[in-house]
C-alpha cells in the first residue's frame, strides 16, 4: 500500500508541476507580451511586479522566481488590483466556492446513487424510465443553462429563493443544485449500470438463499458492491464541479473564486489567472489523491492486495 501511495503522490506532484509550467508558459506566450515594460500596465503596478518577479530578467529566471514564490505559498500579485494580492482574493473567494462545491457534491453523491439504485431495482418499469430521463437531461443540459432556467422559472416565482448573491442558506440552494445536477446525473447512470451488474452476480443469489430480508440483500450486498465504481470516478466529478463552478458563480453572482477567475479572464489579469489556475489545480490534485486513498480503504480487495499477500 505504501508503495502505491508513494507512486501516486509522486505522480501528483509531477502533474502539478506540469500544470504550473504550462500555465506559466502560456501566460507568457500571450501575444503582445503583457509582462513587458512596454505592456499596458500602469507604471506603479509594473514596478511592483518588477521587484517581485524580475520582469526584465530572462524568462527562465522569472520561472524559477515564480516557482520559489509558489512554494512559499505566495500566489502572486494581481495585475489589475492595487489593493489585493492573489492570495487575498483566494482567501476571500475560496471558502464560498468550497461551500457551494461541497453542497453540490453531497447532492450528487446522495441523490445520484439513490436514483440509480431505484432505477436498477425497478428495471424497465416507470421509476427506471423516470430516473433515466432525469439523468439524461442532467448530462445534456449544461450547468449554466440549468442555472438560468432555475433563475427564470423558480427564483422568480418562489419568493424565498433569491435570484442571486450570497449570504444566507437560501442563497446556496439553487446554485448548488444547478451545479450538482450534472454530477448527479452521472452518478445515477453509473449506479444504475453498476447495480444491474451486481444484481446479476451469484452472491446475490446466495444472499437470497439464506432467507435474509430483502432490504438486507439490497443494502448490504447489492449497494455495497455497486457503489465502488462511483468512488473511483469521484475524481472526475470533482474536476467537473470545479469547472462548472465558474459559470454557475457568474450566473448567480456568487462571490467565489470562480468569479475572480472569470473576471480575471475578461480583464486579462494574467497573474491572477495564473494564480487561480494553479490554486485550482492544487485543489483538484489533492482531491484526486484523497479519492484514491478512500477507494483503497473501502474496497477490501485492494487494501489487502497491496499489503503484499
Amino acid at each position: 500500500m505504501k508503495k502505491y501511495l508513494l507512486k501516486r503522490f509522486v505522480m501528483a506532484i509531477f502533474t502539478l508541476w506540469a500544470i504550473v509550467t504550462i500555465t506559466f508558459v502560456l501566460m507568457h506566450a500571450v501575444p503582445g507580451n503583457p509582462f513587458a515594460k512596454e505592456g499596458k500596465m500602469p507604471e506603479v503596478v509594473y514596478e511592483n511586479l518588477q521587484k517581485k518577479y524580475g520582469l526584465d530578467k530572462p524568462l527562465y529566471q522569472q520561472y524559477v522566481i515564480y516557482l520559489r514564490n509558489l512554494l512559499k505559498g505566495d500566489f502572486g500579485d494581481s495585475m489589475k488590483s492595487r489593493v489585493e494580492t492573489v492570495n487575498d482574493m483566494i482567501k476571500r473567494g475560496f471558502p464560498v466556492s468550497a461551500y457551494m462545491g461541497f453542497q453540490a457534491l453531497l447532492i450528487a453523491l446522495i441523490f445520484g446513487p439513490a436514483l440509480g439504485a431505484l432505477a436498477a431495482l425497478n428495471q424497465n418499469k416507470w421509476p427506471d424510465y423516470l430516473s433515466m430521463v432525469i439523468a439524461i437531461l442532467g448530462i445534456s443540459v449544461p450547468s449554466f443553462i440549468m442555472g438560468t432556467v432555475f433563475i427564470q422559472f423558480i427564483a422568480r416565482k418562489v419568493s424565498w429563493l433569491p435570484i442571486g448573491g450570497w449570504g444566507t442558506f437560501a442563497h446556496t440552494i439553487l446554485p448548488s443544485f444547478a451545479l450538482g445536477l450534472m454530477p448527479l446525473a452521472y452518478t445515477a447512470r453509473l449506479m444504475r449500470s453498476s447495480m444491474l451488474e451486481v444484481l446479476g452476480q451469484d452472491y446475490i443469489k446466495t444472499a437470497k438463499s439464506k432467507g435474509i430480508a430483502k432490504s438486507a440483500v439490497i443494502l448490504k450486498h447489492a449497494v455495497r458492491n455497486a457503489i465502488l465504481p462511483i468512488i473511483s470516478v469521484l475524481g472526475t466529478l470533482v474536476s467537473n464541479l470545479l469547472v462548472g463552478s465558474f459559470v454557475v458563480e457568474k450566473i448567480f453572482g456568487i462571490p467565489g473564486l470562480g468569479m475572480f477567475f472569470v473576471k480575471s479572464i475578461s480583464n486579462r489579469d494574467y497573474t491572477l489567472i495564473m494564480g487561480t489556475t494553479i490554486f485550482y489545480a492544487i485543489i483538484l490534485i489533492i482531491s484526486l489523491l484523497l479519492v484514491d486513498l478512500a477507494y483503497m480503504f473501502i474496497d477490501p480487495r485492494i487494501k489487502l492486495a497491496e499489503e503484499g499477500r
Partner: protein, 315 residues
C-alpha cells in the same frame, strides 16, 4: 400428464430412417453482427429520437438561415429586443438582429466545432494509440505515462487557458483555436482504446507466427479485430461530440467564444445573459434549449449505440 389418444400399431415400432433424424438441427436463425446492431439500435426509441434531432439540426443549420429572409448580421434598430412574434419567430437581440436566423447560424458553428473537435480527438487518439501499441514496451510505457499526465490535467482548464492566450484581447478566439484547444486532452481515451486493440492484434500475430499458420489467418483476425474495435470507437466519437459542444458553450459563456458577428450557440447564450434581468430571457433560453437539444441527441444516440454494440445484450 396428458394421455395421447392414439392407437399404437406394430409398424410404428419399426426403426426410423437415417434421413428422418437430424442430429445437428438448428432451429433458430443466427444473425450477422452489424445488421443486428442496426436492428437493435432502431428498436431503441430514445436513440432514434436523438438521431432525428441531430439530423434535423444539421440540416437546419444550413437551411435555417435562409428561411425567413433576414441575415444574421442584419441590424434593425427599431426592433431591438423584441419578443418572439410572427415576423421574428425567435425575437431579436439587443442589436435588432433576427434570432431565428442567428440561432441556426450559431448551430452551424457549434456543430462544426463539435464535429471537428471529435474528429481531431479521433485522429490524435488513433495515431497515438496505434504508435504506442506497435512500439517497444519501453516506448509504450513512456507514452502511456505522458498520456496519463495529460489526461489528469483538467480539460476545460487548459482549454480556457489556451483560449485566453490565443484570443485577441477583448473579443473572443478564432475558430481554429477553439477546435484545437478542445481536442488537446480529449484524445486520451481514444488512444487507450486503440492501443488496447493493437496490442491484442500484436499478440495474436505472435501466436500465429509461432504456429506458422500463414497470412490467411491474419486476414481472418483482421475481420475479427476491426469489428471489435470499430464499435467502441464509434461510441467514443459519438459521445465526445457533446463534450466538445459543452466545452465550447462554457468557453463562450466565459467570453472566450467566437468573435462577433460570428456566433455559436454558446456566444448567443452569453449575449442573452444580460437580457435575463430585464425580461428578455428568451434571448438566453432559446439558444440554451438548442444547445441542450443537440447534447441530448448525441448523448442518447451514443448510449443507444453502446447498448446495441454490447454483445452481452444479444437476444
Amino acid at each position: 400428464m396428458m394421455k395421447e389418444e392414439f392407437t399404437i400399431s406394430p409398424d410404428m415400432f419399426l426403426p426410423a430412417s437415417e434421413e428422418d433424424r437430424d442430429a445437428e438441427k438448428i432451429r433458430r436463425p443466427s444473425i450477422d453482427y452489424w445488421p443486428d446492431v442496426w436492428r437493435r439500435l432502431k428498436q431503441n426509441k430514445l436513440a432514434m429520437v436523438g438521431l432525428i434531432i441531430i439530423v434535423v439540426m444539421s440540416i437546419m443549420s444550413f437551411v435555417g438561415t435562409e428561411i425567413n429572409g433576414f441575415k444574421y448580421y442584419e441590424q434593425h434598430y427599431d426592433l431591438i429586443n423584441s419578443h418572439p412574434d410572427s415576423v421574428h419567430w425567435f425575437g431579436t437581440d439587443e442589436l435588432g438582429r433576427d434570432l431565428f436566423t442567428r440561432v441556426w447560424y450559431g448551430a452551424r458553428y457549434s456543430l462544426f466545432i463539435g464535429f471537428m473537435a471529435a474528429l481531431l480527438d479521433f485522429v490524435f487518439g488513433v495515431l497515438y494509440g496505434g504508435i504506442a501499441g506497435m512500439a517497444t514496451r519501453k516506448v509504450d510505457a513512456v507514452m502511456m505515462r505522458i498520456a496519463e499526465i495529460i489526461y489528469s490535467i483538467p480539460y476545460l482548464l487548459i482549454v480556457i487557458l489556451l483560449s485566453v492566450v490565443f484570443s485577441t484581447s477583448g473579443q473572443g478566439s478564432s475558430l481554429f483555436v477553439m477546435i484545437l484547444a478542445m481536442s488537446l486532452t480529449g484524445w486520451v481515451p481514444m488512444a487507450l482504446l486503440v492501443r488496447g486493440q493493437v496490442l491484442q492484434l500484436k499478440e495474436s500475430e505472435y501466436v500465429l507466427a509461432a504456429e506458422s499458420l500463414g497470412a490467411d489467418h491474419r486476414w481472418i483476425l483482421k475481420k475479427h479485430i476491426i469489428p471489435n474495435t470499430l464499435g467502441p470507437i464509434l461510441v467514443n466519437v459519438t459521445l465526445s461530440i457533446p463534450r466538445a459542444i459543452f466545452a465550447e458553450a462554457t468557453l463562450s459563456f466565459l467570453g472566450l467564444g467566437l468573435q462577433a458577428p460570428k456566433s455559436s450557440l454558446g456566444t448567443l447564450a452569453n449575449d442573452g445573459l444580460a437580457g435575463m434581468a430585464v425580461g428578455h430571457s428568451y434571448q438566453i433560453l432559446i439558444p440554451a434549449i438548442f444547445i441542450s437539444l443537440i447534447m441530448f441527441g448525441f448523448n442518447v444516440l451514443g448510449d443507444g449505440l453502446r447498448d446495441a454494440l454490447d454483445p452481452r445484450l444479444r437476444q
